[in-house]
Structure formats: C-alpha cells, structure tokens
C-alpha cells in the first residue's frame, strides 16, 4: 500500500524529527503526519484532536489519539515526557496561545509550531483597500464565524516565543502550495511574503 504524499509543510516538520523520538502532535487532524512518522522513522507517536471523526480516523489507523483540546488538556501532561511536541496550524485557534506555548515548551524537549502569517502583503492590502477583515484561501471564514480567534504575524509569534523563554533553533517560511525554505526569524521579508512559518523551538 503506497501512502499518499505528505503535505509539504508536514513533510518539513517530519524532517526535523529524529528517528525513534517520542512525539505528541496537538491538533493532529486525521493522523497523516503521525502515521508517516510511525512508518518512516519508527517514532512513538501520540495525538490530541478536537474532532470526533478525525479521532476515529486516527484510531482506525492504529494511532493513539485523545479527543481533547490544547487549551484544556495540556496541563495534565507531565513535564518533559516527549522529545518533540508539535502544534501544527493550531495555535491561532486556541483561547490562550501563550499558555499553550508554555505547556508545549514544558511537555517537550523541543516544540514545533507552524502557523498562518496574518502579515502577508495580500492580507495587509485587503484590509487597507476594503476595510473589511481579510479572507484568504487558508483562512476562509467571516470574522464572526472563524475558529481562528488569535491570528498573528510571523513577527508577532517570534516575539511571543522569546517572551515565553524559547530559543528558536530553526525557522522555515511557507510559500505557495506549502513549499518551505529556511528563514531568519527576524528577517522582514517572510513577514510580508510568506503564507506561514514553521518554528523549531526549545526551552531556554
């Protein structure tokens, strides 16, 4: 059985994970990344996912996934029990991003966070010209319906990460179709031109 190709941003995350690591994926969706890690790197994986259907999909794949959410459930995990804690395209939907990030850095020896960039020039321009909350392909909800209640720019996240006592070991800009290229966290370019970013963090 050949597996479908992993989304490029997930592949970039997978590349950062050492073989046989213990990994927690928060907001693991249908488990595509976790299954890939299990198969290719013999990684010991756990997931947390909000949607019951997605949890069922994960369980049917033989993955260990808890139905729950990042805001409520991370507090119950002991410190430092995972090598890597992943929060992929989820932090903007949490009630308390700084607390969630704090837990991530406590639970994992490393944390990987990916997020959409609300500082993209199209979003800036849309707000400037239309005067309405911008909608993009990735963030396609009217402001009153969106689950993404804490959107931020790349620069905003870099500031939060540092305020949370994190060291940024690696950073990647996400481009068209999820393509990734390395970036400097403080460079101004990605904050205007990247659709999103992926960060490899560790507690200081």
């Amino acid at each position: 059985m050949s597996a479908p190709a992993l989304r490029p941003d997930l592949a970039a995350i997978a590349d950062m994970i050492p073989p046989r690591a213990r990994v927690l994926d928060i907001g693991c969706g249908d488990g595509a990344l976790l299954e890939h890690l299990t198969r290719t790197k013999a990684v010991d994986v756990r997931g947390i996912e909000l949607s019951q259907q997605n949890v069922n999909a994960c369980v049917a794949r033989g993955l260990s996934v808890l139905q729950g959410d990042a805001d409520a459930d991370l507090a119950d995990y002991p410190s430092q029990i995972f090598d890597v804690a992943i929060l992929s395209q989820t932090i903007q939907a949490t009630r308390s991003p700084s607390k969630v990030l704090g837990h991530l850095l406590r639970i994992g020896r490393h944390a990987i966070v990916s997020l959409p960039n609300f500082g993209h020039w199209r979003i800036r321009l849309a707000l400037l010209l239309n005067g309405r909350m911008p909608r993009t392909r990735a963030l396609d909800h009217p402001w009153h319906e969106t689950p993404n209640i804490h959107l931020c720019t790349i620069a905003d996240f870099v500031a939060l990460a540092r305020d949370s006592g994190a060291v940024i070991d690696k950073a990647f800009a996400l481009g068209e179709a999820g393509r990734t290229r390395p970036m400097e966290p403080d460079a101004w370019g990605p904050n205007i031109f990247a659709d999103g970013a992926i960060f490899l963090l560790r507690p200081r």
Partner: protein
C-alpha cells in the same frame, strides 16, 4: 416464577438447559482466592462463546458485562427471551465480528446466571449462601475470568472490552494481567466509584433490605422473594442510567393512558409507568442478594488505591493498547472520570486513545445503537488485529 424445583431452596433463576451456555466448575484444588481474605471453593464460572478460536489461539475477545448484565451478550436471554444485551455490537459482520473473533463472555462471580453467587448452595451447610457468601471485588471477578481462560487454554486475549462495571473489569484486567491483554476498550467507566455512585447503590441496597420478604438475606429458605425492594433498587438505578435530556425527550410530563391527574398515588405519568415496568421485569431475571454483592464490588473499586494512590502506577510498562470511550450525557461515569484514566495511561507512557461520543442518552448509551461507538470499536479492533496478523 414457575420453576420452584424445591420450595425449600427456591431457585427462581434456573435457566432452561438448551440456552444456558457452558460452565466450568473449579474443584477444591483450584480455589478462588478472594480479596476479602477467604477462598471460594468449589465454584463455577458460567459463560457463552461466539465465533471460533483460531489455530494460534490469538483471536479471543473477552467481553465483560455490567452490573445487571450476564454472559448472554450476543444471544437470546434464556429467562427473558430477549436478544443479547450487546447484539448490536457483537455478531457476524458487526464491530466485534464473530466471523473473525472468538468472543467469550462470562457471568461474574457473585452473579445469578450460573456463576457461583449468594443464591447457590454452600457445600459447608447444604443451604444457600445468602449473606454467608463472601464479599467479592472487581478484582475477584477478573481472577475468576483469568482462571476460566486458563481452563480454555487461552493465554492471551486480543481485546478485553466492556462498559460500566464491565469497563472496571477491563481496567482491572489491564492492571492485573498486562501480559495477557493485547488491547483494552473500557467504555463509560472509571477507575473508581464516586461518592455519588456509592450513594445511589446504597439507596438500592437499603430498598432491598427494607423489604420484609428479604428476611435477612435468607429469603430462599423462607420461600419468599424481596421483589418490591429489588424493583425499587432497579428503579432508582435506572434513573442514573438516563440523562435528564433523554427523560424529557422521551416522557416529558406526558400522562399514561389518561387525560387528567388521578388525584391519587397511581402512576399518572409515563415516566412512572416506565420505571415501574423496569422494576417489575428486572425481578424476574435478577437475584436480590446478587444485586447487593455486585453493587458492593463496584463501590469498593478504586484502582489507584491498589497502587499507592497513583493511577498511572497501575499501568507502568504496559504494552496494552487502550481505547477509552465516554458519552457526553453520561453523569454516572462522566467524561471527566474516563479522561482521568486516559491521562493516567498517558502519564504511564501507555498507548491510549480516547473518544467522547456526543449523545443525549446518558450512561445507557453504551448498550444502545450508537454508530460512532461501533465505528470506533471496529476501527480500533481492525488496527489491533492487523498488528497481530489476524485476518
């Protein structure tokens, strides 16, 4: 009941032999050593099986029943004639597929459907045990099941699954015999009985013991049956199995076969008639002393307590894969209790999945047609089977 084999030793629950299933009796050389510090010997474990054990003896699924359940999980009940209590879950092509798995379900020790319980004859006295029957625990029930599996030549089960008290047994199995349990599905359960749960059980027990026909537990000797007390116990318990929303949806304030209040203490409301019916039918198939003993076993259950107060300790080093299922409207074993188990398993670095199913049917949901539960169990068992090379 018609079957009064001997007026002295009334055995109202003697099942017709044809549907009674199998039973294994353990003699003096195999006593059941109980937590209460006594040994039960001789004793019998009555059970049913469905499906075929494969050559490798690797496809056994042990189903654990709840407080008032029995071994007739997937076949007609010999007393009531009703379908098995989990026929929606177990059967050919169903989530627990009897075309693939060898399903075993045993009546718990202390029960009244063939496994040794308080209504059986105490060989020491020649009279029914009654309250001389030793107190049993969930761990004792599991010990008896382990001895049954030994007798059947099954070292390892692919899955242990059950809801409510069945889920307690599942957790106990995983803690007591981790090397024998490949996977576990505890449903609508908890690692302990809460104060509220104990309180409801005590109401039920007091109702039974307040019935003059209970006769200090020796009702068999007197040829009586504490049906009224047992029915009240069932009625009180039944309320805890349903959610407020489901009661409102099904019954509301509707009146039963009348347009106006009777201005008397007849069952005016449909919910009253429903509870009366539940109580009345229950006494035909359940023994009052068994009810006392089994509720007590649930009350005593606190898995963390056996491991120094830290639930995670019960599962350290466990290779068992767990899939925990709870229901949103279950207030007897709410999601929080189920999740507590999930978090303990996580802290013990065990493989655990947890699913909360949205429903307004309360605790009873695990016995009902809940497609998401069936899908979860099916997917989980498929994944576990494929890792063990079971077709």
């Amino acid at each position: 009941m018609a079957e009064t084999a001997s007026p002295r030793f009334l055995r109202p629950l003697a099942a017709p032999a044809a549907n009674a299933g199998a039973a294994i009796s353990f003699g003096a050389e195999h006593p059941l050593v109980l937590d209460a510090g006594r040994a039960l010997s001789p004793f019998t474990v009555a059970y049913m099986t469905y499906g075929t054990l494969n050559e490798a003896r690797s496809n056994a699924v042990l189903v654990c029943h709840a407080l008032t359940g029995d071994q007739f999980a997937a076949s007609q009940h010999p007393v009531t004639g009703r379908p098995g209590w989990w026929e929606t879950m177990i059967g050919p092509g169903r989530s627990i597929d009897t075309d693939r798995f060898y399903v075993i379900c045993a009546n718990v020790i202390g029960g009244c459907m063939g496994s040794t319980g308080p209504s059986d004859i105490d060989p020491a006295t020649g009279k029914p045990y009654g309250l001389d029957f030793p107190l049993v625990t969930v761990r004792d029930m599991v010990r008896a099941q382990a001895m049954l599996l030994d007798a059947l030549g099954i070292d390892e089960v692919l899955c242990v699954v059950g809801g409510s008290m069945g889920g307690m047994q599942v957790l106990q199995w995983a803690a007591s015999y981790p090397e024998r349990v490949v996977s576990a599905i505890p449903i609508a359960t908890g690692a302990r009985h809460s104060a509220q749960n104990i309180a409801f059980h005590e109401v039920g027990r007091q109702a039974i013991m307040a019935d003059p026909d209970w006769k200090g537990g020796e009702y068999q000797l007197h040829g009586t049956k504490p049906d009224k007390g047992l029915a009240v116990a069932r009625m009180a318990a039944h309320i805890t199995y349903l959610s407020e929303a489901a009661l409102q949806r099904k019954f509301g304030r509707s009146l039963q076969n009348r347009a106006e209040f009777s201005f008397a203490f007849r069952p005016d409301f449909q919910i009253e008639s429903y509870l009366h019916h539940q109580g009345m039918t229950f006494v035909d198939r359940f023994d009052a002393n068994s009810y006392l003993y089994i509720t007590r076993a649930m009350d005593y259950f606190d898995l963390a307590e056996d491991y120094g107060g830290a639930l995670a300790e019960a599962f350290v080093g466990s290779k068992t894969r767990f899939c925990i299922i709870s229901f949103t409207s279950d207030w007897l074993f709410p999601t929080s209790e189920n999740k507590r188990v999930a978090h303990a398993l996580n802290a013990a670095a065990a493989n655990v999945s947890f699913v909360e199913i949205e429903t307004d049917r309360g605790h009873d949901a695990f016995l009902l047609d809940e497609p998401e539960m069936f899908a979860t169990v099916r997917g989980f068992l498929n994944a576990v089977s494929s890792t063990r090379g079971i077709a």
